[in-house]
Amino acid sequence: MDVNSAHDSTADTSAEPLYKTDDPRRSCWVCFATDDDDNTDPCWVQPCNCRGTTKWVHQSCLQRWVDEKQKGNALTKVACPQCNTEYIIVFPNMGQLVMFLDTVDTIMLKMSPFLAAGVLAGAVYWTAITYGAITIMQVVGHEEGLQVMSQAHTLVLIVGLPAIPVMLIFGKMIRWEETALLILRKYTPKIPILKYFLPSFIYQEEPEQQNYAGVPSLVDTICATRVFCSALLLPTIATFIGRLFYESVPSKVQRTLLGGITFILVKGILRIYHKQQKYVQKCHRRILDYTPENIKRHPHPLNATRYTASGPGNPAPSPSNSLSPNSSISQGLYGSQSSLSTESSTSSHVVVPASL
């Protein structure tokens, strides 16, 4: 490789006799050393339009400053912080091959994010198409499904198949149980028949609890993975339930549809019931006095370990080693805890819901 000395910036400046004579005491604006200070003969540059004290700078000091400004990217342009002149930074010519490799390197660096995104999008698309095809075969039947798909137009397949999982997920986002629950809460106290069948929906919040408007309530947030899983599993479950309960229906598609509707309805009703019970449970929550009998009745895991760690050389047993023989007391305490949790699912140290 030939090193072209004409491009070498150090060669440029050292071959310039004019500046050496015109300013007898140069000082570097980075390290502040002057000509008098230097024992060795450093390389000076005058890289911008500046005059006066910021006219001269050591080549090595300026290189360091440029490194600091570029922060690792050797192609960033750097300007003088005083006069805003862009520095002329040149690299020695290392030959055609290096130049070519440089170009390839840059192109690859710029392309790779797009390529990666493309590959990822393609993978997601193919997965969606496969899922759509499997779903159709599941709902219509294996042979019939293949027949339907081979008869359909290519464009319909390309767009329609991936749309199946997308539509399922969007459908799952409709939170109809929420609306139904609100309607039930609103109208149950007014309609006598409903009042009789659904007594827990008559419940009104206690006025003192209503005052805390800013307190976060127990509204469950939409969990992405949960929505994803239940949306994509819906066709399988629908097929299964259809086969189980609607054996008499001749059409396979109708059977699956009926199964799906049954599943969604039953699940929705259970969910509404669960949510309402949780809501009532939360409203009846009480915090107990910290008295000895209450501590005894509702032991906390931390308290339990505190009691068992009474011996000086006996390390506090954690729940994980509660099977070891020397922690029989803690086992007993955990036992009483678990018997308590059968009464209510949210039992903890002092927060105990009243019986429903």
Partner: protein, 199 residues
């Protein structure tokens, strides 16, 4: 410390000592350790500002990578200014961050801080409470800054009315700094200040 940093601070130190600002008692720099990594600065409050007559102490920490990175400067003296935190003394000034240039020196930094005191930038605040007061109640800002200058920096303009309010708050159990901060940030509304401290 890297050789280049201490060499340069040594040279700058001489420059500050020789400069005419030191002769006018406008700025001062003092070494705190032998290897030139920690210094104490002092700037006089610029004339015709609420800070006039005050002496403001600064903590200057020189990083290993100086002069390629700016020195870390903060106010040790408490000061009421939109671009200086009234709690920590942290300074919001571009040349102490990304606009730093290696050609700047201790002397130019101290002079820039003086200039910042003379012309605050309320749109790029360090202390939002002070900045809001500066914009909405300029007269209260000036008298508050004067009172802070007299309290902490030895300035001449103490406001009797403010001193009385602070004493009243100290009478009900707060310390002086707490009372001054609360009253200043509540635009000297006694009730609001009490609410801020005890509420």
């Amino acid at each position: 410390m890297a050789n280049i940093a201490s060499q340069r601070i040594k040279r700058e130190f001489k420059e500050v000592i020789r400069s005419e600002e030191v002769a006018r008692c406008s700025i001062r720099v003092e070494l705190l350790d032998d290897n030139y990594s920690e210094l104490k600065g002092e700037i006089a409050g610029p004339p015709d500002t609420p800070y006039e007559g005050g002496k403001f102490q600064l903590e200057i920490k020189v990083p290993e990578t100086y002069p390629f990175n700016p020195p870390k400067v903060k106010f040790l003296t408490k000061v009421w200014h939109p671009n200086i935190s009234s709690v920590t003394g942290a300074i919001c000034l571009d040349i102490l961050k990304d606009q730093w240039a290696a050609a700047m020196t201790l002397r130019t930094v101290l002079l820039s801080l003086q200039a910042l005191m003379a012309s605050p930038e309320p749109d790029d605040p360090q202390d939002a409470v002070v900045a809001r007061q500066y914009k909405e109640f300029p007269e209260i800002f000036v008298s508050t800054a004067e009172h802070w200058t007299s309290t902490y920096a030895g300035g001449p303009r103490k406001k009797e009315e403010y001193s009385k309010m602070i004493e009243k708050l100290m009478g009900i159990g707060c310390d002086m700094d707490q009372a001054l901060v609360a009253l200043s940030s509540c635009n000297w509304d006694m009730n609001k200040a009490i609410e801020q401290i005890f509420g």
